[in-house]
Symmetry: C2
């Protein structure tokens, strides 16, 4: 804080000058002392002055509602909401979210440092603090082509940005555990700042090694005993409640009053529909309290603990000198926000956003589907060998199975076999770097006709397309090329439905409501072509992720994840 | 950690290479998960590898004893022990202390930056981590002459030292609350690093202002409600158990499992005799547990919480990648240390120090009693007015009372009046800066003859001398000049007893045992000249401290602390 501003704040705090605003008759949730205190909170110049009997130029009666620090999401990929940062803010601020610590890993895989810069710039003037952890794994593996290869030297300049906090989840945990230099270089980049972890299922000696390397958090625990080991090793447990991964119920029994300060809530990935209909961190707090957690501890896990971990000393609690980022809840059961203040200014009134949020130019992060001219031949798979390795989708899981089968042939090429629910699949490098096309087959998408395609395909976000015939696959790929990316369903050479995601091929320019409506139509179209999955594009987006077992397809071709190597499609 | 060292540690952690040492059959106090875990701890190259079933080149059977992180004192003035850093380490390491966060405020008031550098250098090779907070109040007030005036520019270079953590207790709390620029400059010096506080009795709006200025800790609470307000304001409560100020019993009821991580134990000032006979942080932990605190929480308050607060991520807990700074306690009642490890090496075996600790050169911080030639006339107090303002000592307190009395005269000068227990007192500027002598009278020291003198006189540490006659006072002052400082008792023109404190006039070069024996003889001598106080030199040392009410004497003369101004001795 500037000196003169601080001196004015001190004058108000000691009672020599009046405050701007006094919030009276509140039940103040003190997440430092873990108490609820009845009293008045004075605000001045965007800051909390203190709790006490202050003179103020105005006052607001809270009528006995609960005043909490604004909530903080300790780890989120905003891109997964499909919403650009301004629309994301419009969606989460009304739920009482005051800050998110985001890892722009997805957009960085497409746009490199431009993507990181865009996320910083697009979130500059929001009534939401968007803190950024620097993506540590771009590309995620050497078996795929991402839009950039980010080295520590590429990332280091961002460390001087006031909202960049450290290094994001180091997903290459084998690289850390095995002490691989380029991976440890990414950890070192933090130079004493926070380094987040990502160690799904890692326990025992490997976890000891991962911990010893200086990794400080993890949000991937799915089982209580796994989280317990991390807690014991000094890794803070970020309990994830996302749209797909929901770990609260499994992990909550580990939280005790003594150790609760080593836990935070995060969402990791949360989709637009859930963000709009159910809530954000307030929904996680609500669920935790329903599961039996003390509401003050729950709120602390969704604010103070996270702020303290990341060294955000000017927010995350109702205390003198902290920014007046506050949320007023009607009760500590439903956690329905009545009002939200950001830097002492009302951003949400009666649950409605009143802060003005402007869209931000997406120049520099659009036109990211850079693929050459395609034709039906681009999708042809020459038949070599007797059988092929096929990826089998397991419903509601991101892991797959490897199966083998002989396939029908046409003109010396293998083709889809709808009778056995086997579709063709391609991954087309879309970053304009090498034009790679990986080709394979997938079982279990249920397609009876047509094709699905997506430019959201973790983690390199190449164009992934599955279909029953080359004509529809070509149509789907070209549709995404034309729209600058997104999701599409095609049949009979026509687009049945599509969601345009022109921002890096990952995010929409539309409102959350519009995106939700588009997705609903898209899912309907997918069902029309036979796909029975609840979230077909979610399933598709993980079929190119070569860090999740067992068999995946990248622009390099098939990857046997268990062996962590590329393999041939045909089996002789 | 260097890369190659880390890679070796990772290899051991993941089980590919053997550990150096396996500590088996221990009850491991995990201050991160707040549990006691039975198991084995592997060490390698001075670090903790992890808990688990590791192969190791050697093993040690802990026979069911309790393995705890080595203890940390969150705030101490080492000078108050009268021991130079090496001897201080010899005294506290056997009690399981692994680190102290010290404020070299006393020596800095005498030697300025040389004093800070000495404390850093003299603690460089100890089996004890001595972290330093930069003294923020040298001099403490404008009403005295210290050995240096330390500005932020003087202190800033120290921030690059790996053991300098931030800015020490900002004692000038009115300066902070009132927003005085030079005081806020000291707070700003920290530039985001820790800033410790000192706010005795400060509550309500003034506390809100002190908190808003960014002060993060306080160890001065004496009452529970005072500490509660600080806790609520986000100021971490450092519970002090020193040799004079003991706040544990009063404050402990405030600690709950939820909020315990916002508490640490500190000693502030602890004397050699107590450090040797009773213990250090282990004694505080013992007392806390006797008062009902859970022993794991007590140990966390004496280790992990403090390490986390100061960002000491490589120590303070038994977890992979942390330095193997450990203490083995026989039980969790008496907290008697059996063994202490420092960086994986045994420093204490069967309670006995085996680590070799060498003395460190005191060149540059000796010969600090720089006063000109004195004679009996130097002590004469010309009689002006009818009565004089007299400082009255209150037994066992550092506050004084102002009383007025007419005094006997001799040759136009006021003299001591032993019949009414009024001695003469002088404070002689001893830093060679201006030769000031402040003169006054003190009631309540009990002196019937002779004189006492000390170069320990908070906070400027000028030479303070009280006596019944000028001849003995001259003898006492000259004795300290000759010895380079310390404590002395004189009668009949002869030295009865003395403790040489040649290091800045504050610390001894002798062993703790010798210092304790010398003090015992000194106290005996003080009783011989009539002083009935338990700790006469402690009382004397606070009579020059112009930040504690009500009347004090500095080299400037009498200070009315309530009015925070210098006043005349004589009253007309």
């Amino acid at each position: 804080m500037e000196r003169s501003k601080l001196q004015k704040l001190l004058a108000v705090a000691r009672g020599d000058e009046p405050a701007d605003l006094l919030l009276i008759n509140g039940k103040i949730v003190n997440t430092l002392s873990y108490e609820i205190i009845e009293g008045s909170v004075a605000l001045f110049n965007g800051y909390i002055v203190g709790v006490g009997d202050y003179e103020a130029r105005a006052q607001v009666d809270l009528h006995g509602a609960y005043l909490s620090p604004a909530l903080i999401d300790g780890h989120i990929h905003i891109e997964s909401s499909l919403l650009a940062p301004p629309e994301f803010a419009r969606t989460v601020v009304p739920w009482g979210t005051g800050a998110v610590v985001c890892d722009p890993h997805e957009i960085a895989n497409v746009c490199g440092t431009r993507g990181i810069q865009y996320m910083l710039d697009a979130s500059e003037r929001l009534p939401l603090d968007v803190y950024v952890m620097l993506p540590s794994c771009v590309p995620a593996t050497h078996m795929e082509t991402a839009g950039a290869d980010l080295t520590p030297d590429d990332l280091r300049p961002f460390l001087s940005h006031p909202r960049v906090l450290g290094v994001a989840e180091v997903m290459n945990f084998p690289g850390v555990v095995l002490g691989i230099d380029p991976v440890l270089d990414k950890v070192d980049l933090a130079a004493g700042r926070p380094v987040d972890g990502h160690a799904p299922g890692v326990r025992g000696k490997w976890l000891n090694a991962y911990s010893a390397a200086g990794i400080q958090t993890d949000h991937e625990s799915t089982e209580l005993e796994e989280a317990r080991e991390k807690l014991r090793n000094g890794i803070k447990v970020f309990i994830r409640e996302g749209s797909t991964a929901r770990n609260l119920e499994a992990l909550l029994p580990l939280v005790t009053p003594e150790n609760c300060h080593r836990f935070s809530f995060v969402s990791d990935d949360r989709h637009a529909d859930e963000l709009q209909a159910i809530g954000h961190m307030n929904a996680t707090v609500r669920k935790a309290v329903k599961l039996g957690l003390d509401p003050v501890i729950a709120l602390a896990m969704a604010s103070t603990h996270t702020a303290e971990h990341y060294g955000l000393h000017d927010t995350g609690a109702i205390a003198p000198g902290r920014r007046a980022n506050l949320v007023l809840f009607e009760d500590l059961k439903e956690f329905k926000p009545l009002q939200v203040w950001r830097d002492g200014v009302v951003a949400v009134e009666n649950g409605k956003l009143i802060a003005s949020i402007e869209d931000y130019s997406t120049a520099g992060v659009t036109d990211t589907v850079r693929i050459g001219a395609l034709n039906e031949q681009s999708f042809a798979v020459a038949a070599t060998g007797d059988k092929v390795n096929i990826i089998e989708v397991i419903p509601d899981q991101i892991v797959t199975r490897r199966v083998e089968a002989a396939l029908p042939q046409e003109a010396g090429c293998w083709i889809a076999d709808t009778a056995r629910d086997i579709a063709k699949m391609v991954v087309i490098e879309r970053h304009g770097r090498n034009g790679n096309i990986g080709r394979g087959f997938v079982k279990g998408l249920g397609l009876t006709k047509g094709a699905l395609a997506s430019t959201v395909a973790h983690d390199s976000h190449n164009l992934i397309c599955a279909g029953t015939n080359d004509r529809d696959m070509l149509c789907a790929a070209n549709a995404l090329k034309a729209s600058g990316g997104g999701w599409v369903v095609v049949a009979g050479g026509k687009i049945l439905a599509q969601v345009a995601l022109p921002v890096a091929g990952l995010m929409s320019n539309d409102s959350a409501s519009s995106v939700i409506a588009q997705i609903s139509r898209l899912h309907q179209a997918a069902r029309q072509i036979g796909c029975p999955l609840d979230a077909p594009f979610m399933a598709l987006s993980f079929l190119a992720l070569p860090v999740i077992p067992s068999l995946k397809l990248t622009d390099h071709g098939l990857v046997d994840v268990d062996k962590f190597m590329e393999i041939e499609l045909g089996i002789s």
